[in-house]
Protein backbone atom coordinates (compact mmCIF):
# COMPACT_ATOMS: atom_id res chain seq x y z
CA UNK A 1 0.00 0.00 0.00
CA UNK A 2 1.42 3.28 -1.03
CA UNK A 3 0.98 5.56 1.96
CA UNK A 4 1.17 9.28 1.50
CA UNK A 5 2.24 11.97 3.92
CA UNK A 6 1.43 15.63 4.11
CA UNK A 7 4.33 17.96 4.92
CA UNK A 8 3.64 21.36 6.42
CA UNK A 9 6.47 23.91 6.33
CA UNK A 10 6.95 26.57 9.00
CA UNK A 11 9.56 29.28 9.29
CA UNK A 12 9.28 30.04 13.00
CA UNK A 13 9.63 27.74 16.00
CA UNK A 14 6.88 29.50 17.97
CA UNK A 15 4.44 28.99 15.10
CA UNK A 16 5.56 25.39 14.91
CA UNK A 17 4.90 24.84 18.62
CA UNK A 18 1.37 26.24 18.30
CA UNK A 19 0.77 24.14 15.20
CA UNK A 20 1.93 20.97 16.99
CA UNK A 21 -0.45 21.70 19.86
CA UNK A 22 -3.34 22.34 17.46
CA UNK A 23 -2.71 19.16 15.50
CA UNK A 24 -2.47 17.17 18.72
CA UNK A 25 -5.72 18.73 19.92
CA UNK A 26 -7.37 17.67 16.64
CA UNK A 27 -6.19 14.13 17.45
CA UNK A 28 -3.95 13.60 14.43
CA UNK A 29 -0.86 11.47 14.77
CA UNK A 30 2.29 13.49 14.00
CA UNK A 31 4.67 11.23 12.15
CA UNK A 32 7.78 13.38 12.52
CA UNK A 33 8.95 16.96 12.96
CA UNK A 34 12.18 18.13 11.30
CA UNK A 35 13.96 21.13 12.84
CA UNK A 36 17.26 22.89 12.13
CA UNK A 37 17.92 23.24 15.89
CA UNK A 38 16.46 21.90 19.15
CA UNK A 39 13.12 23.51 19.92
CA UNK A 40 12.65 23.68 23.68
CA UNK A 41 9.51 21.88 24.78
CA UNK A 42 8.75 20.28 21.41
CA UNK A 43 9.04 16.74 22.77
CA UNK A 44 6.55 17.59 25.50
CA UNK A 45 4.11 19.17 23.04
CA UNK A 46 4.36 16.09 20.81
CA UNK A 47 3.86 13.83 23.80
CA UNK A 48 7.09 11.89 23.28
CA UNK A 49 8.17 9.52 26.06
CA UNK A 50 11.13 10.75 28.15
CA UNK A 51 14.52 9.35 27.26
CA UNK A 52 16.02 6.55 29.33
CA UNK A 53 19.58 7.13 28.18
CA UNK A 54 20.65 8.46 31.61
CA UNK A 55 19.59 5.15 33.17
CA UNK A 56 21.67 3.17 30.66
CA UNK A 57 24.60 5.46 31.39
CA UNK A 58 24.36 4.76 35.12
CA UNK A 59 24.36 1.03 34.47
CA UNK A 60 27.35 1.31 32.11
CA UNK A 61 29.15 3.24 34.84
CA UNK A 62 28.52 0.38 37.26
CA UNK A 63 29.98 -2.01 34.68
CA UNK A 64 33.07 0.20 34.30
CA UNK A 65 33.59 0.32 38.06
CA UNK A 66 33.31 -3.46 38.27
CA UNK A 67 35.79 -3.92 35.42
CA UNK A 68 38.29 -1.64 37.15
CA UNK A 69 37.96 -3.41 40.50
CA UNK A 70 38.17 -6.92 39.07
CA UNK A 71 41.08 -6.00 36.82
CA UNK A 72 43.18 -4.30 39.50
CA UNK A 73 42.35 -6.98 42.05
CA UNK A 74 43.50 -9.72 39.70
CA UNK A 75 46.64 -8.02 38.44
CA UNK A 76 47.91 -6.31 41.58
CA UNK A 77 46.65 -8.56 44.39
CA UNK A 78 45.91 -12.07 43.07
CA UNK A 79 48.23 -12.71 40.15
CA UNK A 80 51.53 -11.18 41.21
CA UNK A 81 51.40 -9.35 44.54
CA UNK A 82 54.82 -7.73 44.29
CA UNK A 83 56.16 -5.24 46.77
CA UNK A 84 56.37 -2.07 44.72
CA UNK A 85 57.80 0.73 46.79
CA UNK A 86 56.31 -0.60 50.00
CA UNK A 87 52.69 -0.43 48.88
CA UNK A 88 50.65 -3.02 50.78
CA UNK A 89 49.38 -5.52 48.20
CA UNK A 90 48.05 -8.05 50.71
CA UNK A 91 44.40 -7.26 50.03
CA UNK A 92 42.46 -5.01 47.70
CA UNK A 93 41.19 -2.71 50.44
CA UNK A 94 44.69 -2.08 51.80
CA UNK A 95 45.93 -0.72 48.51
CA UNK A 96 42.59 0.74 47.43
CA UNK A 97 43.47 4.47 47.39
CA UNK A 98 46.05 3.81 44.69
CA UNK A 99 43.36 2.21 42.50
CA UNK A 100 40.75 4.93 42.90
CA UNK A 101 41.99 7.08 39.98
CA UNK A 102 41.65 4.05 37.69
CA UNK A 103 38.27 3.12 39.15
CA UNK A 104 37.02 6.64 38.59
CA UNK A 105 38.32 6.98 35.05
CA UNK A 106 37.02 3.62 33.91
CA UNK A 107 33.60 4.39 35.40
CA UNK A 108 33.46 7.63 33.44
CA UNK A 109 34.90 6.02 30.33
CA UNK A 110 32.32 3.24 30.23
CA UNK A 111 29.44 5.51 31.18
CA UNK A 112 30.29 8.06 28.51
CA UNK A 113 31.33 5.92 25.57
CA UNK A 114 28.73 3.20 25.90
CA UNK A 115 26.04 5.84 26.32
CA UNK A 116 27.15 7.56 23.11
CA UNK A 117 27.16 4.25 21.26
CA UNK A 118 23.70 3.51 22.65
CA UNK A 119 22.58 6.87 21.37
CA UNK A 120 23.92 6.14 17.88
CA UNK A 121 22.30 2.72 17.80
CA UNK A 122 18.93 3.96 19.00
CA UNK A 123 18.92 6.94 16.62
CA UNK A 124 20.33 4.83 13.78
CA UNK A 125 23.34 7.02 13.04
CA UNK A 126 26.50 5.79 11.38
CA UNK A 127 29.13 7.22 8.99
CA UNK A 128 27.67 6.08 5.64
CA UNK A 129 24.05 6.43 6.54
CA UNK A 130 21.83 7.99 3.90
CA UNK A 131 20.39 11.24 5.24
CA UNK A 132 16.64 11.13 5.87
CA UNK A 133 15.85 14.68 5.06
CA UNK A 134 12.51 15.51 3.41
CA UNK A 135 13.70 18.94 2.35
CA UNK A 136 17.13 20.56 2.47
CA UNK A 137 15.69 23.73 3.98
CA UNK A 138 14.97 21.91 7.28
CA UNK A 139 18.69 22.05 8.11
CA UNK A 140 18.79 25.78 7.58
CA UNK A 141 15.71 27.86 8.38
CA UNK A 142 12.55 25.79 7.91
CA UNK A 143 10.59 23.40 10.11
CA UNK A 144 8.59 20.52 8.67
CA UNK A 145 5.76 18.64 10.32
CA UNK A 146 4.88 15.36 8.69
CA UNK A 147 1.46 13.72 9.08
CA UNK A 148 0.29 10.51 7.44
CA UNK A 149 -2.78 10.77 5.23
CA UNK A 150 -5.65 8.30 5.71
CA UNK A 151 -8.02 9.63 3.05
CA UNK A 152 -8.45 12.89 4.92
CA UNK A 153 -6.25 15.04 2.69
CA UNK A 154 -8.69 17.94 2.38
CA UNK A 155 -9.39 18.22 6.10
CA UNK A 156 -5.70 17.98 7.05
CA UNK A 157 -4.71 20.60 4.52
CA UNK A 158 -7.28 23.05 5.89
CA UNK A 159 -6.14 22.43 9.44
CA UNK A 160 -2.46 22.95 8.57
CA UNK A 161 -3.06 26.10 6.57
CA UNK A 162 -4.90 27.43 9.59
CA UNK A 163 -1.85 26.84 11.79
CA UNK A 164 0.31 29.23 9.76
CA UNK A 165 2.13 26.83 7.45
CA UNK A 166 4.04 28.66 4.73
CA UNK A 167 3.98 25.72 2.32
CA UNK A 168 2.22 22.36 2.15
CA UNK A 169 3.47 19.37 0.17
CA UNK A 170 2.07 15.91 -0.33
CA UNK A 171 4.56 13.18 -1.03
CA UNK A 172 5.13 9.46 -0.91
CA UNK A 173 6.29 8.34 2.48
CA UNK A 174 10.01 7.74 2.54
CA UNK A 175 10.59 4.41 4.20
CA UNK A 176 13.44 4.11 6.65
Amino acid sequence: MASKVIQAFYNDDDVLMHAVKKVKAAKHHIEEVYCPFPVHGLDKAMGLAPTRIAITSFLYGCVGLTVAIVMMNFIMIKDWPQDIGGKPSFSYIENMPAFVPIMFELTVFFAAHLMVITFYLRSRLWPFKKAENPDVRTTDDHFVMEIEIHGNERELKDLLVGTGAVEINISEKNSH
Partner: protein, 443 residues
Protein backbone atom coordinates in the same frame (compact mmCIF):
# COMPACT_ATOMS: atom_id res chain seq x y z
CA UNK B 1 5.58 38.77 56.14
CA UNK B 2 6.63 35.70 58.01
CA UNK B 3 5.70 35.34 61.64
CA UNK B 4 7.86 33.18 63.84
CA UNK B 5 5.57 30.30 64.72
CA UNK B 6 5.26 29.77 68.44
CA UNK B 7 5.98 26.08 68.21
CA UNK B 8 9.27 26.69 66.45
CA UNK B 9 10.23 29.43 68.88
CA UNK B 10 9.50 27.30 71.94
CA UNK B 11 11.21 24.36 70.27
CA UNK B 12 14.38 26.35 69.67
CA UNK B 13 14.37 27.70 73.24
CA UNK B 14 13.98 24.16 74.60
CA UNK B 15 16.89 23.06 72.39
CA UNK B 16 19.02 25.87 73.80
CA UNK B 17 18.06 25.08 77.39
CA UNK B 18 18.68 21.35 77.07
CA UNK B 19 21.90 22.02 75.18
CA UNK B 20 23.11 24.46 77.79
CA UNK B 21 22.52 21.84 80.50
CA UNK B 22 24.54 19.38 78.42
CA UNK B 23 27.40 21.84 77.97
CA UNK B 24 27.46 22.65 81.70
CA UNK B 25 27.24 18.93 82.45
CA UNK B 26 30.25 18.36 80.22
CA UNK B 27 32.33 20.89 82.12
CA UNK B 28 31.19 19.53 85.50
CA UNK B 29 32.00 15.97 84.51
CA UNK B 30 35.49 16.82 83.24
CA UNK B 31 38.11 15.58 85.69
CA UNK B 32 40.14 18.05 87.79
CA UNK B 33 43.00 15.83 88.86
CA UNK B 34 45.09 13.02 87.48
CA UNK B 35 43.45 10.53 89.87
CA UNK B 36 39.98 11.40 88.64
CA UNK B 37 41.09 11.10 85.05
CA UNK B 38 42.58 7.67 85.68
CA UNK B 39 39.43 6.51 87.42
CA UNK B 40 37.31 7.72 84.49
CA UNK B 41 39.40 5.93 81.93
CA UNK B 42 39.44 2.76 84.01
CA UNK B 43 35.65 2.69 84.17
CA UNK B 44 35.30 3.41 80.45
CA UNK B 45 38.12 1.33 79.19
CA UNK B 46 36.14 -1.51 77.70
CA UNK B 47 33.95 0.97 75.91
CA UNK B 48 36.06 1.82 72.92
CA UNK B 49 39.54 1.93 71.61
CA UNK B 50 40.50 -1.46 72.97
CA UNK B 51 43.87 -0.49 74.36
CA UNK B 52 45.74 2.74 74.66
CA UNK B 53 48.66 1.26 72.91
CA UNK B 54 52.04 2.83 73.22
CA UNK B 55 52.13 4.01 69.63
CA UNK B 56 49.12 6.25 70.10
CA UNK B 57 50.23 7.74 73.37
CA UNK B 58 53.76 8.27 72.17
CA UNK B 59 52.41 9.99 69.11
CA UNK B 60 50.30 12.28 71.20
CA UNK B 61 53.20 13.14 73.46
CA UNK B 62 55.29 14.23 70.54
CA UNK B 63 52.37 16.41 69.66
CA UNK B 64 52.75 18.25 72.90
CA UNK B 65 56.48 18.33 72.58
CA UNK B 66 56.90 17.32 76.19
CA UNK B 67 58.20 13.81 75.94
CA UNK B 68 61.87 14.42 76.63
CA UNK B 69 61.51 17.15 79.21
CA UNK B 70 59.10 15.40 81.49
CA UNK B 71 61.62 12.59 81.56
CA UNK B 72 60.82 11.68 85.17
CA UNK B 73 58.82 8.68 84.06
CA UNK B 74 56.66 7.64 81.21
CA UNK B 75 53.67 7.03 83.45
CA UNK B 76 53.56 10.48 84.95
CA UNK B 77 53.65 12.28 81.65
CA UNK B 78 51.12 9.87 80.22
CA UNK B 79 48.71 10.55 83.06
CA UNK B 80 49.10 14.27 82.71
CA UNK B 81 48.50 13.97 79.02
CA UNK B 82 45.36 11.95 79.67
CA UNK B 83 44.11 14.58 82.09
CA UNK B 84 44.61 17.35 79.56
CA UNK B 85 42.73 15.35 76.92
CA UNK B 86 39.79 14.76 79.22
CA UNK B 87 39.78 18.39 80.26
CA UNK B 88 39.78 19.40 76.61
CA UNK B 89 36.72 17.35 75.77
CA UNK B 90 33.94 19.77 76.78
CA UNK B 91 35.87 22.64 75.20
CA UNK B 92 36.45 20.78 71.97
CA UNK B 93 32.78 19.72 71.86
CA UNK B 94 31.76 23.34 72.30
CA UNK B 95 34.24 24.57 69.71
CA UNK B 96 33.27 21.99 67.05
CA UNK B 97 29.56 22.79 67.36
CA UNK B 98 30.14 26.56 67.49
CA UNK B 99 32.32 26.43 64.41
CA UNK B 100 29.97 24.09 62.57
CA UNK B 101 26.97 26.40 62.83
CA UNK B 102 29.05 29.52 62.15
CA UNK B 103 30.41 27.77 59.07
CA UNK B 104 26.89 27.10 57.76
CA UNK B 105 26.10 30.82 57.88
CA UNK B 106 29.44 31.61 56.25
CA UNK B 107 28.87 29.03 53.52
CA UNK B 108 25.48 30.57 52.77
CA UNK B 109 27.11 34.00 52.64
CA UNK B 110 29.61 32.75 50.04
CA UNK B 111 26.79 31.18 48.03
CA UNK B 112 24.80 34.40 48.24
CA UNK B 113 27.76 36.49 47.06
CA UNK B 114 28.31 34.11 44.16
CA UNK B 115 24.65 34.34 43.15
CA UNK B 116 24.92 38.13 43.15
CA UNK B 117 28.27 38.27 41.35
CA UNK B 118 27.14 35.73 38.75
CA UNK B 119 23.82 37.57 38.30
CA UNK B 120 22.01 34.26 38.56
CA UNK B 121 18.49 34.43 37.22
CA UNK B 122 16.97 31.62 39.26
CA UNK B 123 17.95 32.54 42.80
CA UNK B 124 16.76 36.10 43.60
CA UNK B 125 13.54 34.65 45.04
CA UNK B 126 15.67 32.94 47.67
CA UNK B 127 17.77 36.00 48.60
CA UNK B 128 15.71 36.80 51.71
CA UNK B 129 16.04 33.21 52.89
CA UNK B 130 19.80 33.35 52.42
CA UNK B 131 20.02 36.73 54.15
CA UNK B 132 18.03 35.29 57.04
CA UNK B 133 20.46 32.42 57.44
CA UNK B 134 23.54 34.64 57.21
CA UNK B 135 22.13 36.73 60.07
CA UNK B 136 23.49 33.98 62.32
CA UNK B 137 27.03 34.99 61.32
CA UNK B 138 26.93 37.82 63.87
CA UNK B 139 26.21 35.84 67.07
CA UNK B 140 27.85 32.68 65.72
CA UNK B 141 31.02 34.46 64.69
CA UNK B 142 31.23 36.32 67.99
CA UNK B 143 30.85 33.08 69.97
CA UNK B 144 33.66 31.44 67.99
CA UNK B 145 35.80 34.52 68.56
CA UNK B 146 35.09 34.42 72.29
CA UNK B 147 36.14 30.77 72.42
CA UNK B 148 39.36 31.70 70.62
CA UNK B 149 39.98 34.52 73.11
CA UNK B 150 39.41 32.11 76.00
CA UNK B 151 41.96 29.77 74.42
CA UNK B 152 44.48 32.57 74.22
CA UNK B 153 43.76 33.32 77.89
CA UNK B 154 44.71 29.69 78.70
CA UNK B 155 41.21 28.75 79.83
CA UNK B 156 41.61 25.60 77.78
CA UNK B 157 44.23 23.60 75.96
CA UNK B 158 42.72 23.36 72.49
CA UNK B 159 45.67 24.96 70.74
CA UNK B 160 48.97 23.58 72.04
CA UNK B 161 51.01 26.31 70.40
CA UNK B 162 49.39 28.85 72.73
CA UNK B 163 51.14 27.26 75.68
CA UNK B 164 54.48 29.10 76.09
CA UNK B 165 55.92 26.19 78.04
CA UNK B 166 55.26 23.80 75.18
CA UNK B 167 56.69 26.23 72.64
CA UNK B 168 59.83 26.67 74.75
CA UNK B 169 60.63 22.99 74.34
CA UNK B 170 59.56 22.64 70.73
CA UNK B 171 61.75 23.94 67.98
CA UNK B 172 59.16 23.34 65.30
CA UNK B 173 56.66 25.55 67.09
CA UNK B 174 59.35 28.17 67.74
CA UNK B 175 59.95 28.26 64.01
CA UNK B 176 56.29 28.91 63.40
CA UNK B 177 55.81 31.42 66.19
CA UNK B 178 56.11 34.33 63.77
CA UNK B 179 52.75 33.27 62.43
CA UNK B 180 51.29 31.23 65.26
CA UNK B 181 51.40 33.73 68.08
CA UNK B 182 48.34 34.64 70.13
CA UNK B 183 48.21 38.37 69.34
CA UNK B 184 48.53 38.01 65.59
CA UNK B 185 46.10 35.09 65.72
CA UNK B 186 43.39 37.19 67.37
CA UNK B 187 44.03 40.15 65.06
CA UNK B 188 43.58 37.92 62.02
CA UNK B 189 40.41 36.40 63.46
CA UNK B 190 39.00 39.85 64.16
CA UNK B 191 39.77 41.06 60.63
CA UNK B 192 38.15 38.02 59.02
CA UNK B 193 35.01 38.11 61.13
CA UNK B 194 34.81 41.88 60.76
CA UNK B 195 35.06 41.61 56.98
CA UNK B 196 32.47 38.88 56.66
CA UNK B 197 30.00 40.58 58.98
CA UNK B 198 30.54 43.97 57.34
CA UNK B 199 29.79 42.53 53.90
CA UNK B 200 26.76 40.69 55.21
CA UNK B 201 25.27 43.76 56.87
CA UNK B 202 26.02 46.13 54.00
CA UNK B 203 24.77 43.78 51.30
CA UNK B 204 21.60 43.16 53.26
CA UNK B 205 21.08 46.90 53.62
CA UNK B 206 21.52 47.44 49.89
CA UNK B 207 19.26 44.51 49.14
CA UNK B 208 16.45 46.04 51.21
CA UNK B 209 17.12 49.51 49.77
CA UNK B 210 16.74 48.11 46.25
CA UNK B 211 13.17 47.09 47.12
CA UNK B 212 12.19 50.67 47.90
CA UNK B 213 14.26 52.57 45.33
CA UNK B 214 13.27 53.70 41.86
CA UNK B 215 16.50 52.84 40.07
CA UNK B 216 18.97 49.94 40.11
CA UNK B 217 21.93 51.70 41.72
CA UNK B 218 21.74 49.64 44.93
CA UNK B 219 21.61 46.46 42.90
CA UNK B 220 24.67 47.43 40.89
CA UNK B 221 26.61 48.45 43.99
CA UNK B 222 25.66 45.15 45.59
CA UNK B 223 26.99 43.33 42.54
CA UNK B 224 30.32 45.11 42.84
CA UNK B 225 30.79 44.62 46.57
CA UNK B 226 29.81 40.95 46.21
CA UNK B 227 32.54 40.41 43.65
CA UNK B 228 35.01 42.21 45.91
CA UNK B 229 33.84 40.19 48.90
CA UNK B 230 34.47 36.94 47.06
CA UNK B 231 38.13 37.90 46.62
CA UNK B 232 38.39 38.75 50.32
CA UNK B 233 36.48 35.62 51.27
CA UNK B 234 38.75 33.35 49.24
CA UNK B 235 41.83 34.62 51.02
CA UNK B 236 40.34 34.97 54.50
CA UNK B 237 38.61 31.58 54.43
CA UNK B 238 41.84 29.89 53.49
CA UNK B 239 43.80 31.57 56.29
CA UNK B 240 40.91 31.01 58.71
CA UNK B 241 41.08 27.27 58.06
CA UNK B 242 44.80 27.24 58.88
CA UNK B 243 44.24 29.29 62.01
CA UNK B 244 41.10 27.84 63.49
CA UNK B 245 41.32 24.24 62.39
CA UNK B 246 44.72 23.22 61.08
CA UNK B 247 46.56 24.88 63.99
CA UNK B 248 45.07 22.46 66.54
CA UNK B 249 47.63 20.13 64.98
CA UNK B 250 50.51 22.62 64.66
CA UNK B 251 53.10 20.09 63.54
CA UNK B 252 51.09 19.17 60.51
CA UNK B 253 50.32 21.09 57.35
CA UNK B 254 48.46 20.54 54.12
CA UNK B 255 48.16 22.86 51.15
CA UNK B 256 44.62 22.13 50.01
CA UNK B 257 43.19 22.34 53.51
CA UNK B 258 41.53 25.70 52.93
CA UNK B 259 39.61 24.44 49.92
CA UNK B 260 38.65 21.33 51.78
CA UNK B 261 37.10 23.27 54.67
CA UNK B 262 35.49 25.59 52.13
CA UNK B 263 33.79 22.66 50.38
CA UNK B 264 32.49 21.46 53.72
CA UNK B 265 30.98 24.82 54.64
CA UNK B 266 29.65 25.45 51.14
CA UNK B 267 27.73 22.20 50.89
CA UNK B 268 26.37 22.54 54.45
CA UNK B 269 25.25 26.08 53.66
CA UNK B 270 23.46 25.09 50.46
CA UNK B 271 21.80 22.21 52.28
CA UNK B 272 20.49 24.55 54.94
CA UNK B 273 19.19 26.97 52.27
CA UNK B 274 17.29 24.08 50.71
CA UNK B 275 15.89 22.91 54.04
CA UNK B 276 14.77 26.37 55.21
CA UNK B 277 13.24 27.05 51.78
CA UNK B 278 11.34 23.79 51.85
CA UNK B 279 10.11 24.53 55.37
CA UNK B 280 8.89 28.02 54.47
CA UNK B 281 7.36 26.74 51.24
CA UNK B 282 5.49 24.03 53.12
CA UNK B 283 3.96 26.80 55.25
CA UNK B 284 2.81 28.52 52.05
CA UNK B 285 5.11 31.50 52.61
CA UNK B 286 7.08 31.29 49.39
CA UNK B 287 4.31 30.88 46.81
CA UNK B 288 6.53 31.62 43.80
CA UNK B 289 9.23 29.11 44.71
CA UNK B 290 8.63 25.99 42.65
CA UNK B 291 10.12 22.54 42.35
CA UNK B 292 12.70 23.78 39.88
CA UNK B 293 14.27 26.00 42.54
CA UNK B 294 14.49 23.02 44.88
CA UNK B 295 15.85 20.97 42.00
CA UNK B 296 18.63 23.53 41.46
CA UNK B 297 19.55 23.58 45.14
CA UNK B 298 19.58 19.78 45.22
CA UNK B 299 21.86 19.77 42.19
CA UNK B 300 24.24 22.04 44.09
CA UNK B 301 24.06 19.72 47.12
CA UNK B 302 24.87 16.80 44.87
CA UNK B 303 27.67 18.51 42.98
CA UNK B 304 29.39 20.10 45.96
CA UNK B 305 29.18 16.84 47.92
CA UNK B 306 31.23 15.27 45.16
CA UNK B 307 33.57 18.26 45.16
CA UNK B 308 34.09 17.83 48.91
CA UNK B 309 34.85 14.14 48.40
CA UNK B 310 37.28 14.99 45.65
CA UNK B 311 39.22 17.29 47.97
CA UNK B 312 38.99 14.90 50.92
CA UNK B 313 40.31 12.07 48.83
CA UNK B 314 43.01 14.16 47.15
CA UNK B 315 44.33 15.21 50.53
CA UNK B 316 44.13 11.70 51.95
CA UNK B 317 45.53 9.89 48.94
CA UNK B 318 48.50 12.19 48.41
CA UNK B 319 49.55 11.77 52.03
CA UNK B 320 48.81 8.04 52.12
CA UNK B 321 50.69 7.41 48.89
CA UNK B 322 53.91 9.19 49.77
CA UNK B 323 53.67 8.24 53.44
CA UNK B 324 56.12 10.86 54.70
CA UNK B 325 56.25 10.40 58.49
CA UNK B 326 55.88 14.10 59.35
CA UNK B 327 52.64 14.34 57.37
CA UNK B 328 51.14 10.92 57.74
CA UNK B 329 50.68 11.00 61.53
CA UNK B 330 47.56 13.07 60.93
CA UNK B 331 45.87 10.15 59.23
CA UNK B 332 47.50 7.47 61.36
CA UNK B 333 45.85 8.81 64.53
CA UNK B 334 42.54 9.23 62.74
CA UNK B 335 42.45 5.76 61.27
CA UNK B 336 43.64 4.18 64.50
CA UNK B 337 41.34 5.95 66.93
CA UNK B 338 38.51 7.27 64.74
CA UNK B 339 37.90 4.50 62.25
CA UNK B 340 34.11 4.65 62.25
CA UNK B 341 33.68 8.44 62.26
CA UNK B 342 36.48 8.88 59.76
CA UNK B 343 35.22 6.46 57.15
CA UNK B 344 31.56 6.76 58.14
CA UNK B 345 31.79 10.43 57.24
CA UNK B 346 32.81 9.56 53.69
CA UNK B 347 29.76 7.34 53.33
CA UNK B 348 27.49 10.07 54.68
CA UNK B 349 29.00 12.89 52.66
CA UNK B 350 29.56 11.02 49.43
CA UNK B 351 27.77 7.71 48.89
CA UNK B 352 24.49 8.83 50.39
CA UNK B 353 24.02 12.08 48.42
CA UNK B 354 25.42 10.58 45.22
CA UNK B 355 23.03 7.67 45.19
CA UNK B 356 19.98 9.55 46.51
CA UNK B 357 20.30 12.76 44.52
CA UNK B 358 21.48 11.32 41.21
CA UNK B 359 17.96 10.87 39.87
CA UNK B 360 16.51 14.06 38.44
CA UNK B 361 13.00 13.28 39.70
CA UNK B 362 14.19 12.71 43.27
CA UNK B 363 15.70 16.19 43.37
CA UNK B 364 12.15 17.54 43.06
CA UNK B 365 10.72 15.50 45.92
CA UNK B 366 10.93 17.76 48.94
CA UNK B 367 11.07 15.15 51.69
CA UNK B 368 13.78 13.37 49.76
CA UNK B 369 15.91 16.52 49.67
CA UNK B 370 15.32 17.10 53.39
CA UNK B 371 16.26 13.51 54.22
CA UNK B 372 19.48 13.72 52.24
CA UNK B 373 20.12 17.15 53.75
CA UNK B 374 19.97 15.76 57.29
CA UNK B 375 22.55 13.12 56.40
CA UNK B 376 24.79 15.69 54.71
CA UNK B 377 24.66 18.02 57.71
CA UNK B 378 25.39 15.19 60.15
CA UNK B 379 28.23 14.11 57.87
CA UNK B 380 29.79 17.55 57.82
CA UNK B 381 29.49 17.87 61.57
CA UNK B 382 31.50 14.66 61.68
CA UNK B 383 33.95 16.22 59.26
CA UNK B 384 34.71 19.09 61.65
CA UNK B 385 34.64 16.63 64.55
CA UNK B 386 37.29 14.55 62.80
CA UNK B 387 39.39 17.63 62.17
CA UNK B 388 39.39 18.93 65.76
CA UNK B 389 38.93 15.99 68.11
CA UNK B 390 41.94 13.74 67.34
CA UNK B 391 44.31 16.62 68.09
CA UNK B 392 42.57 17.80 71.24
CA UNK B 393 41.09 14.77 73.00
CA UNK B 394 42.86 12.00 71.10
CA UNK B 395 41.55 8.53 71.78
CA UNK B 396 39.35 9.81 74.63
CA UNK B 397 36.62 10.84 72.19
CA UNK B 398 33.00 9.90 72.47
CA UNK B 399 29.79 11.41 71.20
CA UNK B 400 28.16 11.87 74.57
CA UNK B 401 26.58 14.58 76.68
CA UNK B 402 29.10 17.41 75.99
CA UNK B 403 29.01 16.89 72.21
CA UNK B 404 25.26 16.42 71.85
CA UNK B 405 24.61 19.22 74.33
CA UNK B 406 26.72 21.62 72.28
CA UNK B 407 25.00 20.58 69.03
CA UNK B 408 21.55 21.08 70.57
CA UNK B 409 22.46 24.44 72.03
CA UNK B 410 23.84 25.84 68.80
CA UNK B 411 21.07 24.28 66.72
CA UNK B 412 18.55 26.01 68.96
CA UNK B 413 20.38 29.31 68.76
CA UNK B 414 20.72 28.95 65.00
CA UNK B 415 17.02 28.25 64.49
CA UNK B 416 16.02 31.03 66.87
CA UNK B 417 18.26 33.64 65.28
CA UNK B 418 17.62 32.70 61.66
CA UNK B 419 13.84 32.55 61.90
CA UNK B 420 13.75 35.71 63.97
CA UNK B 421 15.72 37.45 61.19
CA UNK B 422 13.28 36.08 58.62
CA UNK B 423 10.37 37.80 60.35
CA UNK B 424 11.81 41.29 59.94
CA UNK B 425 11.17 41.78 56.20
CA UNK B 426 8.91 40.29 53.49
CA UNK B 427 10.19 36.95 52.25
CA UNK B 428 10.26 37.90 48.58
CA UNK B 429 12.30 40.76 47.13
CA UNK B 430 10.06 43.26 45.36
CA UNK B 431 12.13 44.83 42.64
CA UNK B 432 15.22 42.95 41.77
CA UNK B 433 16.06 43.12 38.03
CA UNK B 434 15.98 39.32 37.89
CA UNK B 435 12.93 38.70 40.01
CA UNK B 436 10.59 38.03 37.08
CA UNK B 437 13.00 35.53 35.61
CA UNK B 438 13.33 33.87 38.99
CA UNK B 439 9.57 33.73 39.40
CA UNK B 440 9.18 31.95 36.07
CA UNK B 441 12.23 29.81 36.56
CA UNK B 442 11.60 26.40 35.18
CA UNK B 443 13.96 23.58 34.62
Amino acid sequence: MYTFSNRLKIGSIILMAVGLLGIIGGFVMAPGTVEEAKAMVASHDDGHGGGHDTAASHDAEMEHGAAAEHGGGHDVSYDEHLLSQLKNRPWAALYVAAFFFMMIALGVLAFYAIQRAAQAGWSPLLFRVMEGITAYLVPGGIIVFVILVLSVLHMNHLFVWMDPEVVAHDELLQGKSGYLNPTFFLIRAAIFLGGWIAYREYSRKLSLKQDESTDNSSFKLNFRISAAFLVFYLISESIMSWDWIMSVEPHWFSTLFGWYIFASMFVSGITVIAMVTIYLKSKGLLPDVNDSHIHDLAKFMFGISIFWTYLWFSQFMLIWYSNIPEEVTYYVTRIQDYKLPFFGMVAMNFLFPVLLLMNSDYKRINWFVVLTGIVILAGHYMDIFNAIMPSTVGDQWFIGIPEIGAILFFAGLFIFWVFRALTTVPLQPKRNPFIEESRHFHY
